[in-house]
């Protein structure tokens, strides 16, 4: 297994920055997510998390700091969170931190909906937009 590093950009589409680090088990998704093919982008990330769980069996920290994601991304996020929940139920150690703009009430609601959907404990971490 190798790290996944994707530099985010805002060009024809909005690509989030991704940093999945094998050594620390810290997985970060940051930025905006509006992609040409959402599943093409997220499938390798899901596979990575599954492989990490299966092969490494170590604690995993998932950090989301997305200021915008479209609804097809929202489904991929749900899939990842469900994988994490299954890992936790199987005895794995999982931490999910979700950073959001303190003024973005819609985002806060979205995160609450994910908590309800997955049963995962998600730490809501508000930040002040510069």
């Amino acid at each position: 297994m190798e790290n996944i590093i994707i530099e985010g950009s805002r060009d024809t589409y909005f690509i989030p920055s991704v940093n999945f680090e094998l050594h620390t088990g810290i997985c970060e998704i940051v930025g905006e997510s509006f992609l040409e093919d959402t599943i093409d982008f997220y499938k390798p990330l899901m596979n990575w998390v599954e492989d990490y769980i299966e092969q490494e069996k170590r604690p995993l920290a998932f950090i989301i700091k997305l200021t915008y994601f479209n609804t097809s991304t929202s489904r991929c996020i749900l899939d990842i969170l469900n994988i994490l929940k299954d890992y936790e139920e199987a005895g794995g150690e999982v931490v999910v931190n979700w950073h959001f703009d303190e003024n973005d009430i819609d985002m806060e609601e979205d995160i609450e909906d994910y908590i309800q959907d997955t049963g995962l404990e998600i730490n809501l971490i508000p930040f002040q937009k510069k």
Partner: protein
């Protein structure tokens, strides 16, 4: 000069996009256009970050629906096929209004209208539950969340206005309008 729009038609079009209009666009809804318009919305509405964020989100959802589901297609310079449609963003004293229109298959649009009706009768908490229910269903082939319109209604906080106008035997023009409070 049969292939040229006459001046009166152009003036009518211009007047139609009256002084309330911040942005109007007709044509292909591909990734490039979507990101340019989204960035334009963001910078134009920057003085009101809350409304700006909402209009940005709503525009992108409605626009992606057009690129996926419009039955009028065009191939862009990169060889990608995308739907065509129209967008009008207007500013009023206490709200913004975002309207989109596109051609669609009438049978499919009837399902869309049913969904709009459901969305409009649901209270916010029930609408959130409805979104969660739709999101847990298998994704459509295009990877769409199947929940774009629900998300639009949740983001806007206002009911959707919508209409379909039959054009051909199989296709209709579909218009959806949403209001974003300032």
């Amino acid at each position: 000069m049969q292939n040229m729009i006459n001046t009166q038609e152009l003036l009518d079009l211009y007047n139609l996009a009256n002084n309330k209009t911040l942005l109007s666009y007709t044509g292909i809804f591909d990734g490039q256009i979507l990101s340019v318009i989204a960035e334009n919305i963001e910078s134009n509405l920057a003085q009101n970050p809350n409304a700006s964020r909402k209009v940005f989100k709503i525009f992108l959802e409605l626009a992606q629906n057009i690129s996926f589901y419009s039955t009028e297609k065009q191939t862009n310079s990169k060889g990608k096929v995308n739907g065509m449609g129209i967008l009008i963003l207007q500013e009023f004293e206490d709200h913004y209004s975002c309207s989109t229109g596109n051609m669609g298959n009438t049978e499919m649009l009837k399902e869309v209208i049913k969904k709009c009706e459901t969305i409009n009768i649901l209270e916010r908490d029930d609408l959130r539950e409805y979104k969660r229910k739709l999101r847990s269903l298998p994704a459509s082939a295009k990877g769409g969340g199947n929940i774009g319109l629900v998300q639009v209604a949740l983001t806007s906080g206002n009911p959707l206005a919508y209409k379909i106008i039959p054009i051909t035997k199989t296709d209709s023009f579909y218009i959806v309008n949403t209001k974003i409070n300032k």
